[in-house]
């Protein structure tokens, strides 16, 4: 085994105990051996210093690619097994939620009795797109027709009050359903 080969293997921790002891002994006696081993160490240090910039974390991209490239094959999915149980539960939950919303809407319709004839036509059907009061006001100002208004769980109504020169929109909501205004 040539000396340089031995020094490199020593530096890389690839020698057995006997070989390592022999090189250590050589290092004590031979300045050239010391210089060479030191040079190997410094090269390693410089290479590591040159790679100090943290590489990007590709975890999310990789998992996304794995999911799209291999949707049906590969590892059995524990979450997939869970999904079979979760799906019916979600369906039942959605059904219960729909029933609760329908009850709430019916309740709101009973409670809201605006007196003004200028009341805008509105429908609290939950499936329709909701419009916030501010957006509604802006829409009225710009002449956009309103299809529905959703006040959420709070009962409310929209009035257009006629003035001398212009109409003013009034948005009326109840913070507390016990307070009937």
């Amino acid at each position: 085994v040539r000396r340089d080969d031995r020094w490199m293997r020593f530096h890389d921790g690839e020698l057995d105990a006997e070989g390592e002891a022999a090189v250590r002994d050589e290092l004590r006696r031979d300045s050239r051996a010391r210089a060479q081993v030191e040079a190997l160490r410094r090269i390693g240090d410089l290479v590591r210093e040159a790679h100090q910039t943290a590489p990007p974390d590709l975890t999310e991209q990789i998992l996304a690619r794995v999911a799209t490239s291999n949707p049906m094959r590969g590892l059995p999915s524990r979450t997939g097994r869970g999904r079979r149980v979760v799906k019916p539960a979600l369906g039942l939950g959605a059904l219960a939620l729909a029933a609760a919303v329908a009850l709430l809407v019916a309740e709101q319709r009973r409670e809201v009795r605006p007196d003004s004839d200028d009341l805008l036509a509105y429908d609290l059907t939950p499936a329709m797109p909701s419009v916030s009061a501010v957006a509604l006001y802006e829409a009225v100002q710009t002449g956009v027709s309103i299809q529905s208004v959703d006040f959420g769980p709070t009962p409310g109504a929209i009035f257009m009050v006629s003035g001398a020169e212009q109409e003013t929109m009034v948005v009326w909501t109840l913070e507390d359903t016990n307070d009937k205004g």
Binding site: R2, R3, D4, D5, W7, M8, R9, H11, D12, G13, E14, S31, R32, R34, A35, Q36, E38, A39, L40, R41, R42, I43, G44, L46, V47, R48, E49, A50, H51, A54, P55, P56, D57, L58, T59, Q61, I62, L63, R65, V66, S69, N70, R73, G74, L75, P76, S77, R78, T79, R81
Partner: protein, 220 residues
Amino acid sequence: MAVNSGDGKASNRVAREADSEVDRELIERAKSGDQNAFRKLVERHNRRAFVLALALVRDDEDAREIVQEAFIRVHRGLPQFHGGSSFFTWLYRIVHNLSIDFIRRPARRELDADLLREPEEAPGDWSLELPEGNPLDGIQRSELQQRIRAALEELPPYHRGVIVMRELYGMSYEEMAESMGVSKGTIMSRLFHARKKLQKSLASCYEEAFGVKAPEEDQA
């Protein structure tokens, strides 16, 4: 210890063995369907796989593509992985093979064909040729860094590969041989010549780089 944040010291075999143990456990869990375990494997190894791919193909986007493809293959191959080799050795072999295939593509061939052609080294050519010339005084560390980066860029892919595996990941000759699909002797030869080239590229600032005067040529 997260593999991605390893200290990169040359002799970190013990730490790597502990990492391999963690990997084995994660693989078993992943094989039984634990997606979170697979995510952990990706988290632990993707950055290192990226550095290796980048060292080989020298393009950030290409390296990202290669790493993603490598993990897709890992995911598909996990049920067949029986732990005969360590996970990272397996992963790095996939990354290495994909990178080499990528370099051999027609669009890249003109650029890198010569770099892939490994020159036949004379057997036993192990005399460490030391840089000659006078070391320049006062070379700044940043300059040294630039030089080493430039020198790394100049290396052919198979030399950059062993340098990264050895100096950054502390992989053994055996592990590198397994990852690159070559013999241990080839790994030693590549490593020797890669280091020699790096040393030569720093010849003009040898003392600054290595902290010692350039040793005389070994005639033994």
